[in-house]
Structure formats: C-alpha cells, structure tokens
C-alpha cells in the first residue's frame, strides 16, 4: 500500500512537469558579436582622397565567409588619418561596438601590420594608463607597390606589450586587406 501511496504522491510532480505549454523559445539577441569592421582612411593632404576598407560577416560563425572590400588605391608619400568602426549588424538597428571598445580602452588594443608594401602606423588614441588603443591611427604608405594590411583587435592583451605575438589575450577580429599603393 505504501507503494501506492508514493505513486500517488508523485502524480502532482509529473502533472506539474508535463503541463508546460508548447510555445517556441524566444530568439536570442546576440549581443557581443562583431559582424562588421569599417576602416576609414582620409588623406591628410587631400580631403577628397578617402579609402574605405571593410569586412562584413553577417552570419557570424555560420558557413558564409566574410566579404572583404577595399574602395581604392592609397597614395604613396602621403599620410592618412585612420579610424575604425565595429558593428554588430545581427541586431536591428545595428549596434556600434566601437563605443564599448573605447569605454574599455584598457582591455583592448588594435594591432597593425603590413606586408609586401612599406607602411608605417602611429597610434593616435590611448587608454587611461597611456598605452595605445588604436581606434584612431595614422597610416603612411612609404612607397608604391601592392601587398596587404592586417588589422587585429585583441581583447584583454597584456598592456603595455611589444607586439601581437606576445601580447596574449584573445583575438576578436583579424582581417587582412589587399592594398595597392600608387
């Protein structure tokens, strides 16, 4: 009889657990994803010489590859004021991640490198400790040729550091743009 008693006791539990409605779960607002990086380069000598480099991966870690575009060639012997914007276009309207990175400037750093062409990069913004951040920078193409520029955003690097290889942290974004310098 005890068995029966406990079987009866269990019924409310089972009833409770089975009485859920069948509604589909709500969609998730994927907050931290970066889908887009837009690098805008404005020639210091000629304000109408604007080069935009962009990478966009709207499905995030889905199978579609990022689309990388560069609007045109850079001019040798000049310098460009560079600025970077990151967006999460999975959200509607798109969220500007740049603001988060700038707010947490001590936990982020952008690293620049070039290959195939001579290129100089100078950090133009710094965190509260005087260490470089890199959302604002100067890019100076040293001579004509074609090659690539790689821009890397690292979350939680050791700061200060002497370069990407030893900075630690984790890479949020890393994109190589093909560039031509004329």
């Amino acid at each position: 009889m005890k068995l029966l008693k406990y079987a009866l006791l269990a019924i409310p539990f089972l009833y409770f657990s089975c009485s859920d409605d069948d509604d589909a779960p709500e969609p998730i607002n994927e907050e931290e994803v970066i889908t887009t990086m837009i690098v805008t380069l404005v020639n210091h000598q000629n304000g109408s010489d604007v080069v935009t480099m962009q990478t966009q991966d709207l499905d995030g870690d889905g199978p579609n590859e990022p689309v990388v575009t560069v609007s045109g060639p850079l001019t040798a012997g000049t310098s460009y004021a560079g600025s970077i914007q990151w967006l999460n276009e999975m959200e509607d309207p798109a969220e500007d991640i740049t603001l988060e990175v700038q707010e947490e400037d001590d936990e982020h750093q952008v690293f620049f490198s070039a290959s195939g062409v001579g290129m100089e990069f100078v950090y133009m913004d710094f965190d509260g400790n005087g260490n470089p951040l890199g959302t604002q920078f100067v890019l100076a193409p040293l001579g004509a040729g074609s090659g690539s520029v790689t821009i890397t955003l690292v979350h939680e690097p050791n700061k200060p550091n002497d370069g990407l290889d030893t900075a630690g942290g984790s890479i949020d974004i890393q994109t190589t743009f093909p560039v031509t310098v004329e």
């Binding site: 005890k2 068995l3 406990y6 079987a7 006791l9 269990a10 539990f13 089972l14 657990s17 859920d20 589909a24 779960p25 709500e26 969609p27 998730i28 607002n29 994927e30 907050e31 931290e32 970066i34 889908t35 887009t36 990086m37 990478t55 966009q56 991966d57 709207l58 499905d59 995030g60 870690d61 889905g62 199978p63 579609n64 590859e65 990022p66 999975m90 988060e100 990175v101 947490e104 936990e107 690293f111 490198s113 290959s115 195939g116 690539s148 790689t150 890397t152 979350h155 939680e156 050791n158 290889d165 030893t166 630690g168 942290g169 984790s170 890479i171 949020d172 974004i173 890393q174 190589t176």
Partner: protein, 768 residues
C-alpha cells in the same frame, strides 16, 4: 509456515492452538496439520528459535489452509543486511570496488580522481579540479553514473562538465567496465559507475564521522561530517554535509591563476528499513563555483599557437582565493522517494526521483556584461517499478519498467547563441535480467532492455548553416519559421534501442573465478552531437553536429580472471569493444570568420574498435610488507582506416610498496610510483594556420601528446581508538614528491598549463 522475507518454508516451528492447548511442529516443508477441529475461531501462537513469536487468530470452516509468515530474529536480519550490502549488481560481471576506506583517504578530492585508483579507469581533465571519469577509453555520455539508484542527469555530454556528485555522501563505488547495468541503463557503451551509501543498521544506535583535511597545493581544505540515527524498529535518518574551499593551484614553477573552487554539499535521508518492506526519502544538493584557468581563454587558432609557443600561461598572478571569470557555477538537486515490499512473487520496489541541474558558465565578455554566457537548467523526473524474484533453483529474475521526462531550458538572457537548444525528452524503458546457478561452478546471466526516446526540440539555426548542410531538403518538416538570419526549427526524433547482456562466471575454486561477458549497448546521440552548430570558444573551433545521426551500438566482449587469497590477489581483464556508428568529432576544414580562420570540426559516425588489457596484482611478503602493481593499456581505432581515436589514455604502470607497523597504532607507510607513457598513437589533426601579420603559415599542433612522466607519492596513516570508543584516523600524503613539471595528454588545458606540483595533504577523521 514460511519465512517472511524469502518465502521459504520454515521447519521446526512450534504451533499452539491456545484454546485447546494442542501443540504441533512444522515438518521439512513447513507444514503442520491439525485434524478434527470444530468450526470456530482459534488463537494460534507460533514460535521458532530464530523468529519472533507470533499470535494470530484463524477461522476454521471445514478444511482450512492457512499460510503464516514469520519474521526472522533481528540478529539474523542484521547478517542478511550485511550480506546484501556487499551484494554485487551482477553475478557474472566483474566489478571493481572502491571501499569506504579509499573514499575517506580521498575525501578532499573529486570523483574523477578517486575512480583513477581503479586499474583501467582514467580521467579527462579541464584544469586541476574538473575531472571526468574515463572507463576503458570512453567517457561523457558513454559512462553512466548511478547515485543511490538514480541515474545522474547533469549535462554529462560536455567534456568540461564534471559529475555533480559529492564523494563524501557515498560509502561504496562499484565500477562495471564496458557493460551496461541493464537495470539502470542500456546506453553505457563505456561502463557504469554505481555510487551507493550503505544500508542503515537495524539497531538502536547512533554513528557517524567527521573529517577535516588540509592541503598545501591550493592552500585549502574541507570539512565533512555525517550522522546517522537508527532504531531497531527500522526507522532511521541520516544527515551529511561537506564544505571545501581551495585557492589557486600551483605547478612546480608557477601559480595557475584562477583555478580555485568552493564547494558545498548536503544530503538528508530518512526512512523505514524492514526486511519485508520499507521506504526512504533522500535529498541531496551538490553545488560549486570553480575557476577556469585565466589564460585558457583563447579565441582563435592564432591564440592557441601563441599559447603553445609560450609554454606557460601568459597571465600568472600571485596566489589568491578569488574565483574570477571565467568560472562555472553548478548546482544539482536530487530528490528521491523509494518504497519496497516483499511479496510471494518477489520484491517489488517503486521509485520516483526529481533532479534539477543548473549550470552557469561565466566568460570574459566585452562591456559590463556580468551575466553568464551559458545558463542551462535541466530538469528530470523519473518513475520506475522493479521486481526482483528469487526461484528455488538459486536463480533470480529482475524485471522493471520506467518512464522519464526531461526538459532543458537555456536562458536567452545570456545574449549568446544557445549551445544546447530547448528540448523535451520522453523516455520509456523495460528490462529483464535472469541469472541462474547453472551447475555447481557455473553462473549464467542473460538480460535484455528496450528503451524508447522521443525528443522534441526547438532550435534557432543560422539559415546559412541550415542550407549549407542541406537540412532544408532533408528536414523541411522541422522548419517553423524563416526569420532571415536565423531559422526557427522544431526537430523531433524517436529512438528505439535494444541492449542486451550475456555473461557467465566459472568458479574454479572459492577464491578463483573467471568472468566472461558479452554486452550490447545502444546509445542515442546526445544533444551536443545532434545540435552543435557554431564556435565553441573554449576549444577555439567550430563544432557542427548532425541531425541525421542514428544510435551508436557497442558490442563489448570481456574476460576477467580473478584470484585472491590471504597472501595475494590477481585480477586480469581483457576486453574488445566493437562500436558501430561511433560518434566522434574530426577536423574537416578551415573556416574563415571575421575573427580569423577556425578549424571546422564535424561530428561523424564511423565504426570503431577499442581493445585493452588491465592487470592488478597485490602480494604480501613476510608479515607486514605489501607490494602492489597495476598496469593498463588501451588502444582505439577507426575500423575503416585504422586511424587512432583521439584522447585514448596512454599506457600506465603503477607500483606500490607499503609496510605496516601494527604495534605503532597501525602505522602504515607506502610509496607509490606512477609512470604514464607518452601516447604514441593519436590522430594527426594538426593544420597549417596562416599568420597574416607575418604572411607565413605556422603549424597548429594540438595533436602531439606530451612526454611521458613519472610521479612518486608518499602515503602514511595511523589509526587509534579514543577513550570513548570512537576511532581516529590520521592520513598524511605527499603527491608529486619531487615537484615535477609535466603535462598530461588527458587534460584539455594542456596547451596552456602544466599539471599540479607537489601537494601535501593531511586529513584527520573521527568516527563513532
């Protein structure tokens, strides 16, 4: 006249009809006949030397047959209880047991570490505290854990999920390698771990234990206590609690920052324990908060290359008790109600249990996001009826039926794509196991189990992935709504699985046995294998499951020779596990994303084979000198191309010498040596990663196992009686005596860190 608990006839019982003062004695078949009585109501008094006397009234109308059940005397019941405590789960399967004493020695550790004391069992670790048992090379969903009769449902599919079980709440562990214990599960392709607390005594008594332990590595310790009050009428209750706290662990050279943990556990049990009926209510709470090595937070292949090149973590801070992000916070609640009653046809028991597993994983996140990145709640209700019948020819039949409902809820407030989707699962199962003493030396056992599962999941897939994997053509019926970027789907699956077991034991003599066993286990794919789709940050790879998987079926053949006498014991076990449709992951490609190029791993179903051999030999020399040896080797391959399986435990050899001084408070000192060979057979999943900043390719070597290592441990213990009759036991252990710096192939974080350095452990326990 029959025995109350087993229904066997009782001879030599005296029966008196009080009114008539007529005496009778039962014969060999338990019968006594009184003739020429009038139709009337009489009072009978029944006495037997081993039983409690019983007085009962009977109505006599013409020829009346009356069956009377007698309860054995309590002292004898006590013996039966002891025997049933040591009873095996099967008579034809060799079980490795871990005793209360070993559990006490390891009470500051995790279940994974205790289980490693058994030959052929290893552990798969994520850092120093998080360890999962590996039986004969298999782990996670392939190893089933039974806690006090309840199958643990704690998201065990995840490699970085440790079992939610406090070793201080249990008194005995049995490990059945390579076979399903069909009573509990049919899907244990690797093996079953059965953790139990002892049955309560049928005496008016109080007993318990209190243990304190301290350890140098982690600079922490734990306290644990349990208290049991029992009554000779069968009522009892038991309380148990554990508290553990550790700071950062240290390797030989540096502090592993953010590896501390905090754990608090509690269990309560109360009930009535009689020979022919009883019930109990059991509740346990397991909860912990544990830090994940700070430097193991890597996002991309380049991060891992940098970590491997660095050899030591890039963040090493001073020792601390802080448990910062990344960390896990787990709580597991278990409530069980159980009742049983003996009938003529056997012992019928009923069980209902409820489990709620809550898992929160906190990751390093951008912005001031303090919410967990993963927040899962898994609730499981199950109900089961089991019948155990004994027959006269010393054979037993166990049958049962059970049903289970499970619901997984991933909280969308995380703001991170769900790794495991919302699902509801309905299970139903039937089993039957028969064993018999075929001849004087042969025991045979045969069992079969049927499991039905229905899974009803809701999942948002990336539309691009849904189409890339052709799911839009294969499973159009699952689509609920296309939302552009994502597609809401409602996958539903039914699985029908059969598992079975055929075993024999041949007793060469009292102390020598051979166990031969074949078992077939069928495991349905777990949620991770079905539904994974996307970046798994902690592994820095993209992991893709497959909706079209069918169940994995393992055929395990094993033979064990076991011999033990006063001076020595030898156990030799060999097994072959032929697994059809083995589900595992392989790297198939590279996938560019905005964060760089990731290795793209897919779950695949391929036929596999595993075989291995374990040996354990202990011998006593002179009076107080003992030597012990353990050896185990496991090999696993894909059947089609003989490619080795990943994460197979390397060959290992343990040797132990110990000496005891009975005259010095039972002082026992021992030295243990553990040699782990380099795993020389592994799949080569390395690939070349393009390093854009250097315009070069570099090898991401995540496959090559670390070198062999040798550890020496020292252990000593003394035990003495306190004046009030209690017992003290003091243990001192030193692990990794020479403070070696080494890496372990079965540690997922081996790219980032070495293993623990020297650790001095002291524990004092008092039992009463």
């Amino acid at each position: 006249m029959v025995d109350l608990h087993d229904g066997l006839p009782l001879s030599n019982a005296t029966v008196e009809i009080n009114e008539l003062e007529i005496l009778g004695t039962t014969d060999f078949d338990g019968n006594v006949i009184f003739e020429n009585l009038c139709n009337d109501t009489f009072l009978l008094t029944v006495t037997h030397e081993d039983c409690v006397s019983l007085t009962q009234s009977i109505d006599i109308k013409k020829d009346t047959f009356n069956k009377i059940r007698l309860e054995h005397h309590l002292t004898e019941l006590e013996e039966i209880m002891v025997i049933s405590n040591n009873r095996n789960n099967s008579r034809t399967l060799f079980e490795n047991k871990i005793s209360k004493e070993v559990l006490e020695d390891y009470n500051s550790r995790t279940l994974g570490e205790v289980l490693k004391t058994v030959t052929g069992v290893s552990s798969l670790n994520s850092g120093s505290y998080l360890s999962k048992p590996v039986i004969n090379g298999l782990h996670s969903s392939r190893v089933i854990l039974i806690n006090n009769g309840v199958r643990l449902e704690d998201q065990e599919w995840g490699i970085e999920h440790a079992p939610s079980l406090d070793i201080n709440s249990i008194d005995k562990i049995s490990i059945i390698k390579g076979a399903s214990a069909l009573k509990y599960a049919g899907d244990a392709v690797g093996g079953v771990i059965i953790a139990e607390s002892t049955r309560e005594k049928l005496l008016d008594t109080i007993y318990g234990n209190a243990t304190t332990n301290l350890q140098s590595n982690g600079r922490g310790g734990g306290i644990s206590t349990n208290f049991t009050k029992t009554h000779s009428n069968g009522w009892y209750y038991r309380l148990q609690g554990t508290l553990k706290r550790m700071g950062d662990f240290e390797t030989a050279d540096y502090v592993m920052t953010n590896t501390g943990f905090l754990e608090h556990n509690l269990s309560l049990k109360a009930g009535l324990n009689r020979i022919d009926h009883g019930f109990d209510i059991y509740y346990s709470l397991f909860s912990n908060r544990l830090g994940i090595l700070r430097s193991s937070h890597a996002h991309t292949a380049v991060d891992i290359i940098n970590a491997i090149e660095n050899d030591i973590p890039h963040i090493i801070e001073d020792f601390s008790y802080d448990i910062n992000i990344p960390r896990q916070k787990i709580s597991h609640n278990l409530l069980k109600l159980r009742g049983f009653k003996n009938f003529d046809f056997g012992k019928l028991s009923m069980r209902y249990d409820f489990q709620s597993n809550d898992r929160k994983e906190y990751d390093i996140r951008r912005g001031d996001r303090t919410r967990p990145a993963l927040d899962l709640n898994l609730q499981t209700h199950s109900i089961a009826f089991d019948l155990e019948s004994k027959f006269e020819n010393n054979s037993n039949l166990k049958t049962g039926i059970s049903a289970r409902y499970q619901k997984n809820f991933p909280d969308p407030a995380t703001g991170v794509k769900r790794i495991i989707p919302d699902y509801k699962k309905y299970d139903f199962s039937l089993y039957s196991v028969y064993d018999t003493n075929f001849s004087e030396n042969w025991f045979l056992e045969a069992g079969i189990r049927y499991d039905f599962s229905h899974i009803d999941a809701y999942k948002y897939y990336r539309t691009s992935l849904w189409e890339a994997r052709n799911y839009d053509e294969l499973f159009p019926e699952f689509v609920v709504e296309d939302l552009g970027l994502n597609t809401l789907t409602n996958p539903k699956f039914d699985f029908h699985n059969i598992s079975s077991n055929l075993g024999a034991r041949y007793s060469i003599s009292e102390s020598e046995n051979i166990f031969i066993n074949y078992s077939m286990s069928s495991r349905k794919p777990n949620p991770s294998e079905l539904f994974s789709e996307g970046l798994h940050h902690s592994s820095a790879r993209i992991e893709i499951g497959d909706l079209s998987f069918n169940s994995e079926v393992g055929h395990n053949f094993s033979i064990t020779y076991d011999s033990s006498n006063e001076k020595s014991s030898l156990t030799v076990n060999a097994f072959a596990n032929i697994v059809d449709d083995f589900i595992y992951m392989i790297p198939v490609d590279l996938m560019p994303t905005i964060a760089g190029v990731f290795p793209y791993w897919e779950y695949k179903q391929e036929d596999a084979k595993l075989f291995g051999f374990d040996l354990k030999y202990d011998r006593q020399y002179f009076t107080n000198f003992f030597v012990g040896h353990q050896f185990s080797i496991i090999k696993g391959y894909e059947r089609a191309n003989d490619k080795p399986l990943i994460n197979m435990p390397p060959v290992n050899l343990k040797n132990q010498i110990s000496y005891s001084f009975p005259e010095l408070s039972n002082l026992n000192v021992s030295l243990e040596s553990e040699y782990v060979f380099k795993q020389n057979e592994y799949p080569n999943n390395n690939f070349e990663v393009f390093i854009p900043t250097e315009q070069t390719y570099q090898l991401l070597d995540t496959s090559t196992p670390p070198d062999a290592y040798h550890l020496l441990n020292f252990a000593s213990s003394v035990g003495f009686k306190a004046e009030n009759g209690g017992n003290y036991k003091i243990n001192l252990r030193v692990e990794n005596l020479f403070n070696n710096l080494y890496k372990n192939y079965l540690n997922r974080l081996r790219y980032f860190t070495h293993e623990m350095g020297r650790n001095i452990l002291l524990s004092v326990s008092y039992s009463y």
